[in-house]
Amino acid sequence: MKKQKNDILQGTLTLLVLRMLQAQGALHGYALTSHIQRASAELLRVEEGSLYPALHRMEQDGLVKAEWGVTERGRKARLYSLTAAGKEQLAEEMQNWDRLTEGVARVLRYA
């Protein structure tokens, strides 16, 4: 499959989802996609389908929990929200991200 330019790195997706759930509370998959796109001012584009394996993995790992609910348009959907473990994971990954971007930025600046 052809890689899109702004594909989100695999690990980063988890971080973004966790952050979005922290900010917005319970969300279904479609809402998550739209929120991420909107918040990034359309810079980041998730290949929408790839969100779901990621969400289910996070659920199995206990980072998020899911329950059945309905969308604003009245459709049946699974609503995801953060767990305690998810919150810890988010804090940790945000730190990691900061370190990574800072490191990368330094290299780019001073290399």
Partner: protein
């Protein structure tokens, strides 16, 4: 999602599939809606949404895989963790696995026998369609005339066959060597769908009278005696010293219709006159010896076929009635009916003889397994409580209760599977041992007990059920109350009685109750055996050698037999070491029996069976040899022969039954011979009552006639020899004594005591096994109680220390601990006694001379149980009383 949901997802992919579909489709639908709102056409919007979503099928697969992989991963983790925790306490693991192996092994062993003799279908083509033709009045074994009539006249079944199991002497003479044989009809193999592996099977030509002596042999016999020789067809096999030409070999999977043992040789029914020159059964309308089976036509059920047979019966019985029968009996005979019975599982004496015993043993081993489960549950409970801190920490770190329960159950399942695996190996060995135990020289058993699917299934089921039984309750109980409770549990210093261990106490009380049931059962079975062994059967079992001599017909003419047999008897009596000897038609305590209606002088029969007497033909000295007491009158004498008037000796009960208190000697009893002729016998003596076919039979009416007055002497004769020398020393002299009179003889030697003991095999085996299992249960219950008490003591160290420091005496401390145990014991015993009384009724017909609610037996069982449990609890109690108070308190 709970683990069991995920587990079921694997098998019901549907639910998970649908849920993922729902979720993904919602996404696309939401996107489509939004794009339409932005002004796209419906069709464009849908395409666009699809495109943005990417590869639907692949994403769905990925999502589903995550569930599967996660499930596998957690199982792997759980199993690894379970291995580690069990490995860290090998003593516990070994105890648990061993007791499970014994419990499951015993259950599987009994099941494998039940499966082999009761449940498994015959190894023939479509066994579900096989039926047996029975007559309620005449029985399940029918005459050859009936068979021939059915063969030629029935159309209700798609094929009918007749057969009769028999033993054939395979030896060339001298000492007999028996093989399992079958008399079969010509179409026997064809109806069963058994082809020939070598040569041919029988066909309709073997149904013709006077057919050549031919035989079909089994694969096993071919392998053992001919070493799979490919040119076996055309060779001969010797049966009762007559040559039969082998025409074919059957495939290895066909072992005959009797599941107790395979078959060696099958010969045509029409060859019967070759072996029985004296009185062939072929045209005998009163020789009931053939089992007749048939195969239901396709599309027809048992009921339909049965209705057609009903219509056939009146004409058939009219055609086959024995004209020599008394008129009244002929009239009854023609009114007989026919019925069909499924014959899918074949025939088994073990099935009929041991059915109740096998189910009882199954129940016993089931109870033992329950006791073992309770023990393991208790051990697990104690361990789980000791591991409380571990679980608290895990739950504090976010593991759900279900996750912890799953972990505990994985350990339990690992234990039960290891136990079941070992148990299965044990079972394969134990079932063979058990079969060898109930095998006799007269009836050697060869039951197929190799590993099969139903056996594996049973063991698997046992493993799962036991894991649930012993694992679930402790897992639920230790994780109940959650985090706070678990952490508080570890707080020390509080006064703790047994109160907290309700589940543990219930388990031990249950064990005590179950053990009591098993002990009471064992007591009853042992009591039964003791009664059977000590009962006076009216003869001595010791030092009597039985010799069965078969003469090849017609090597001694009928008119010479009495004289020749007596000549042999005289020569046997002359052998040094022989105290006395006699001969008879039958020996006591064998299945073979002969009875007849009697007409005693001056006695009015109350019913037809009221005058049925069981008979034997004996020589003078018989009672002396068997040590049967002569109560009145005289023994038979040499002068009681065909030339003198007919005489009879009767048993005490018979005398009382017919003549009350008046003197029976000199009175006469009439009996009908064939052809409706009544012969009158004069009673010359009365002997003490003797058992006839079984030691545990009720008293039958018995009568003895002089063998020298037998109008039709048989070609076989039994000698009873009371000996003063070892049995082996007599074998050769007896053989030469007999063959010096007639060379052509084959002999079978049997110790009378063995014959009697073998008849008591079933009660003996049940007594032995129930005692062994009772003791095992007692041991397990003792261990359980010991563990519980020791554990209670270790938790109450503090309290006990304080009590001792405050001046409590040793006795008081012991009483304190035993007080708790006494309560458990009382609870368990009362439940056990109640259950024993209920269950006792189920085994009533396995008992002899003892009632199932015998207060003595129950009392003894309670006593044994109490002694053992008090002992088990006393050890830790005494240790508690010996505590150093300072040490105990300083440990805090």
């Amino acid at each position: 999602m709970a683990w069991y949901h995920r587990f079921s997802d694997l098998f019901r992919r549907g639910t998970l599939d649908r849920e993922i579909d729902d979720e993904l489709i919602t996404h696309i639908a939401e996107r489509t809606d939004e794009l339409v709102e932005q002004g796209m056409s419906e069709r464009e919007a849908r395409d666009c949404a699809r495109k943005q979503f990417g590869n639907y099928t692949r994403r769905k697969e990925e999502t589903r895989e995550i569930h599967l992989l996660n499930w596998i991963e957690t199982v792997r983790q759980d199993v690894r963790y379970a291995f580690r925790t069990l490995g860290s306490n090998p003593a516990f693991a070994a105890t648990a696995i061993l007791s499970l192996a014994l419990g499951i092994g015993a259950n599987t062993a009994i099941f494998s026998i039940i499966n082999a003799v009761m449940l498994r279908s015959l190894p023939v083509e479509n066994p579900a369609k096989l039926v047996q033709i029975n007559s309620k009045e005449a029985g399940s074994e029918l005459t050859n005339p009936i068979w021939e009539y059915l063969r030629d006249h029935q159309h209700a079944l798609s094929g009918v066959l007749a057969y009769s199991p028999d033993r054939f002497d395979l030896s060339d003479g001298s000492e007999s060597r028996f093989g399992q044989g079958m008399w079969v009809s010509g179409n026997f193999f064809n109806v069963l769908g058994v082809p020939a592996l070598q040569g041919r099977v029988f066909s309709a030509q073997e149904d013709r009278r006077g057919a050549a002596p031919v035989a079909v042999i089994s694969y096993g016999f071919w392998k053992r005696n001919f070493a799979n020789d490919l040119s076996v067809v055309g060779k001969t096999v010797r049966l009762n010293r007559h040559e039969f030409e082998i025409v074919g070999v059957t495939p290895p999977w066909f072992t005959g219709l009797d599941v107790d043992h395979g078959y060696d040789v099958a010969i045509p029914i029409t060859c019967e006159p070759i072996l029985n020159t004296d009185r062939s059964k072929l045209d005998n309308r009163s020789a009931w010896w053939l089992r007749i089976l048939g195969r239901l036509s396709p599309g027809e059920n048992l009921q339909q076929a049965q209705n057609r047979f009903k219509a056939l019966a009146p004409v058939m019985f009219q055609e086959t009635v024995d004209p020599r029968l008394p008129a009244q009996m002929q009239k009854e005979f023609v009114k007989s009916t026919l019925s069909l019975q499924p014959a899918t599982t074949g025939f088994s004496d073990i099935r009929t003889q041991y059915k109740t015993a096998l189910f009882t043993l199954m129940a016993i081993t089931g109870l033992v397994l329950l006791v073992a489960c309770a023990n393991i549950a208790n051990l697990l409970l104690a361990r789980a409580t000791a591991r409380g801190r571990e679980f608290s920490v895990r739950m504090a770190m976010g593991a759900s209760r279900l996750r912890v329960i799953r972990q505990l159950m994985t350990e339990s399942i690992l234990l039960s599977i290891s136990g079941a695996g070992t148990g299965l190996l044990l079972a394969l060995w134990m079932s063979r041992l058990l079969i060898r135990l109930i095998s006799t020289t007269g009836n050697p058993l060869d039951i197929g007990l190799s590993l099969n699917f139903s056996l594996l299934g049973f063991t698997m089921l046992a493993a799962i059920v036991t894991a649930l039984l012993f694992g679930l309750a402790p897992a639920l109980s230790t994780t109940r109350g959650g985090l706070n409770h678990a952490l508080k549990e570890n707080a020390r210093g509080a006064l703790q009685g047994f109160s907290r261990f309700n589940l543990g106490m219930t388990l031990v009380a249950g064990q005590i109750a179950l053990s009591l049931i098993l002990l009471v059962g064992a007591g009853l079975f042992v009591g039964t055996l003791r009664n059977l062994l000590t009962i006076d059967p009216g003869f001595s079992r010791r030092s009597i050698l039985l010799v069965n001599a078969q003469f090849k017909q017609p090597s001694i003419g009928k008119d010479q037999r009495i004289q020749k047999y007596n000549q042999m008897l005289e020569r046997i009596r002359a052998i040094p070491g022989v105290i006395s000897a006699a001969r008879s038609m039958r020996t006591p305590i064998t299945n073979f029996g002969m009875n007849g209606l009697t007409f005693p002088e001056g006695y009015q029969a109350k019913s037809r069976m009221d005058t049925l007497a069981w008979l034997n033909l004996i020589s003078p000295e018989y009672f002396n040899t068997m040590a049967t007491r002569l109560v009145m009158g005289r023994d038979f004498a040499k002068t009681d022969d065909v030339k003198t008037s007919r005489v009879m000796i009767i048993g005490e009960s018979t005398a009382r039954h017919f003549f009350g208190t008046s003197n029976p000697v000199g009175k006469t009893i009439g009996m009908d011979t064939r052809g409706d002729k009544r012969v009158h016998y004069e009673i010359v003596g009365v002997v003490e009552d003797t058992k006839y076919q079984q030691i545990n039979e009720g008293q039958r009416l018995t009568a003895f006639l002089p063998v020298d007055q037998d109008p039709e002497p048989d070609s076989a004769v039994n000698f009873e020899i009371r000996r003063a020398v070892p049995l082996n020393a007599l074998l050769h002299p007896v053989q030469s004594a007999i063959s010096s009179v007639n060379r052509d003889v084959s002999l079978e030697f049997q110790d009378f005591e063995t014959q009697v003991n073998e008849s008591l095999l079933q009660p003996r085996v049940v007594a032995l096994l129930s005692s062994a299992f009772g003791l095992l249960a007692l041991l397990l219950a003792g261990i359980g109680l010991y563990g519980l008490t020791a554990y209670g003591v270790s938790r109450r160290k503090n309290e006990i220390g304080i009590r001792i420091a405050l001046g409590a005496r040793r006795g008081a401390v012991i009483r304190l601990i035993l007080g708790d145990v006494a309560m458990l014991l009382a609870l368990g015993v009362s439940a056990g006694v109640g259950a024993s009384l209920v269950m006792g009724r189920l085994i009533a017909n396995l008992l002899y001379g003892i009632r199932p609610n015998d207060p003595m037996e129950i009392g003894v069982a309670v006593l044994i149980l109490t002694a053992c449990t008090v002992f088990a609890a006393y050890i830790p109690a005494r240790r508690a009383a010996g505590l150093d108070p300072m040490g105990a308190l300083r440990e805090e």
